[in-house]
């Protein structure tokens, strides 16, 4: 059993009681809600005649269903309008802070909370969304919950949960030029598998992780869940603190000094005990692309889609399903695979640094003919910053459509969808069957830079050929 890791410390700090069944009652320091997984939770409160215990510990925004072309109200989609209306009503009634469209602070919940300084080290953070693991980049313990648990957090500010084991993923060396956090995390998932993380929190550590920016660390932690781990985190450091400093909801003045003192004490001890440790060489990672229907099915840009016999018996079943669905032949190169749609955005890769990297590739270049390419900033703040830097112009000049913030085609709950069996090059996090809105649509996950390269060539390409 793990001891003295950051996870242990934060868990113990937030433990309210040991429940009769054997699980722990854990206090949730920050509860984030959005329009998709909260309405039934508020309904549940009403059914049980309960009120929100600490309204100040819950923050709301709207992201999954928002259109990215025209956000004027009422939305054209009646159901989407009903969902945002319900969230507005619930927040008003229960006195919950709500960052609505046009506030300047709306966006994907996992982009918004860090950029507002809501996400802080040492907190427990829960949200009805599996990519809540993103917030672990700040040394918080953050995990996705279902709607019944959203109701429980609203009513009690706690949930019942079994303590997780801790696996340290020690990343040696550094990523090479043209290789990004997305490539690293896709490789980790490929190596460990999509269910290896069940029952674990992942601690990402080592020189390669220390060298990453906060936004890159968010990309890594974001995809912990794609490796089965509900929670992923990085020990906080100076980069963490300077990212938070001066943000809207960050501690100010003497509170800042006090916070800093506490945050500095929060990390895994040098001699802490882990349930498991994995070593990973970051310098060997190549720009990476998924070829299958799980985020674990990926190859380096210069590699071939694996033959069935190259895979472990456990992976062969899903590989056969993937070859058929994706229309790929085992042994085929992933490079030069034609694509139809290029999507840059999502809670994985829709932040300002992602847009900068992609714009750098696209500058003075044109999107290939017949490609639909669009970029969806992760938040209103990201959009404003990008416009200030002229990135929107670079995207538009290249032939990308510049959209309004939201989750968009990561999960296609709005009108941004693949059609038929289109192939998308996507900076999002899931390549599941039908994920991007068409039951036969096909998704190739990659870094935003690789999406930009694919857009220019109209096919999967090595971004290193575009950058110096």
């Amino acid at each position: 059993m793990s001891q003295d890791t950051l996870f242990d410390k934060v868990w113990d700090l937030h433990k309210v009681s040991s429940l009769p069944g054997g699980s722990d009652q854990i206090f949730i320091g920050l509860h984030l809600i959005h329009e998709v997984t909260s309405p039934q939770a508020f309904g549940g409160l009403k059914d049980k005649n309960l009120k929100v215990k600490f309204p100040s510990r819950t923050v709301a925004t709207v992201d999954h269903i928002v259109p990215t072309d025209n956000q004027s109200r009422p939305f054209k989609d009646n159901l989407a309008e009903q969902m945002i209306g319900t969230l507005e009503k619930n927040c008003l009634q229960h006195k919950i802070r709500f960052f609505n469209i046009g506030s300047g602070n709306q966006g994907i919940v996992h982009v918004v909370a860090p950029e507002l300084g809501l996400t802080q080290p040492g907190m427990t953070i829960a949200c009805g969304d599996s990519h809540t693991s993103t917030h672990g980049a700040f040394g918080s313990i953050a995990f996705g919950i279902g709607t019944s648990q959203v109701r429980d957090v609203l009513a009690t500010q706690t949930i019942a949960m079994n303590k997780l084991k801790v696996r340290q993923i020690w990343c040696e060396n550094k990523l090479s030029h043209g290789v990004f956090a997305k490539d690293l995390v896709l490789n980790i998932i490929n190596e460990l598998g999509v269910k290896a993380g069940v029952g674990f929190a992942y601690e990402f550590a080592g020189p390669a992780i220390n060298a990453l920016s906060m936004e890159e660390r968010m990309t890594i932690c974001n995809m912990s869940i794609e490796g089965g781990a509900r929670c992923g985190y990085v020990n906080p450091d100076e980069k963490t603190f300077s990212y938070i400093k001066n943000k809207l909801c960050a501690p100010k003045n003497e509170n800042w000094d006090e916070a800093l003192l506490w945050w500095n004490s929060l990390k895994s001890d040098a001699n802490s005990i882990y349930d498991d440790v994995i070593k990973f060489d970051a310098s060997k990672v190549e720009p990476t692309v998924t070829w299958g229907i799980t985020p674990g099915q990926s190859v380096g840009i210069n590699q071939q889609i694996p033959l069935l016999e190259e895979l472990s018996p456990n992976d062969q079943f899903i590989a056969e399903e993937a070859y058929e669905y994706m229309g790929f032949k085992p042994g085929q190169s992933i490079k030069n695979t034609p694509v139809d749609v290029c999507f840059i955005g999502s809670c994985t890769n829709g932040r300002i640094s992602d847009l900068r990297v992609a714009a750098n590739v696209l500058k003075d270049k044109k999107v290939s003919k017949n490609i639909k390419a669009f970029v969806v900033p992760g938040s209103e703040k990201v959009a404003i910053a990008a416009k200030k830097e002229g990135l929107d112009k670079i995207f538009k000049d290249s032939g990308f459509q510049w959209r309004e913030p939201g989750c968009s085609m990561c999960l296609a709950m709005n009108s941004d969808k693949l059609i038929g069996n289109q192939v998308s090059a996507s900076s999002s996090n899931r390549n599941f069957k039908g994920r991007q809105g068409s039951p036969s649509g096909r998704t190739l996950l990659m870094s935003p830079a690789m999406v930009a390269a694919a857009a220019i060539n109209g096919k999967v390409s090595d971004v290193r050929e575009f950058i110096n």
Binding site: H14, F27, V36, Q40, A155, T156, T294, R430
Partner: protein, 203 residues
């Protein structure tokens, strides 16, 4: 699909029902309930849309469309069932279709905790045992009687043990799977925690 929906309530100790096998590893929650069906403010209409895209692709031959499975309530799955999105809509859709228990090789974590939270016990068995049950169920309709207290399942010709975490089992037997009441009991401890936490005043 059962016409009238009665959600599980209180203590759960016995689940009897016909089995329905769904073969495949890593079946994610987007497949169980595609995202477009999440545009709703209640769970009521989800049952009919469970596995909608997979069912359309298979044109009537999906297990959830086969006539002989229509009154089934125990789902037999393979590995990493329910991976991906945290959407509770996935187990809610299965529940509303008629599923009351799931037996599988392994489950994704958030899906598993969502199942507990709405009263669907999930049991595990080895890969081989699951495959044997799925094969048996194809040739003969399997009707299982699951006894949660003894973690056992019996049918006309089978008798086997099921694995379930002791803590989870207790929650079903005591009715505490519906956690809200238990959590509310410690309200004063929660208040104390709120005052104790170093960051409450500055965040």
């Amino acid at each position: 699909m059962k016409s009238e929906f009665n959600p599980p309530i209180g203590k759960i100790s016995q689940i009897n029902g016909k089995c329905i096998s769904l073969i495949g590893n890593d079946i994610d929650t987007d497949r169980i309930i595609p995202a477009r069906f999440l545009k709703c403010i209640d769970f009521d209409s989800l049952g009919k849309s469970v596995f909608e895209d997979d069912r359309k692709t298979l044109k009537g031959s999906h297990p959830f469309d086969l006539k002989e499975n229509q009154d089934s309530s125990i789902l037999i799955v393979n590995s990493n069932f329910g991976c991906g999105s945290s959407r509770e809509h996935a187990p809610q859709a299965l529940l509303r279709w008629g599923i009351r228990a799931i037996i599988g090789e392994s489950f994704a974590e958030i899906f598993y905790s969502n199942c507990i939270a709405i009263g669907i016990p999930c049991f595990t068995l080895t890969k081989k045992s699951i495959q044997n049950i799925q094969e048996y169920n194809i040739s003969k309709n399997l009707f299982l009687e699951i006894d949660l207290k003894n973690s056992s399942a019996i049918s006309e010709d089978l008798n086997f043990n099921l694995d379930i975490k002791e803590s989870t089992k207790k929650m079903f037997l005591s009715g505490e799977w519906d956690a809200t009441a238990t959590l509310l009991e410690n309200s004063s401890l929660v208040d104390r925690k709120f005052k104790e936490l170093p960051y409450i005043k500055f965040s």
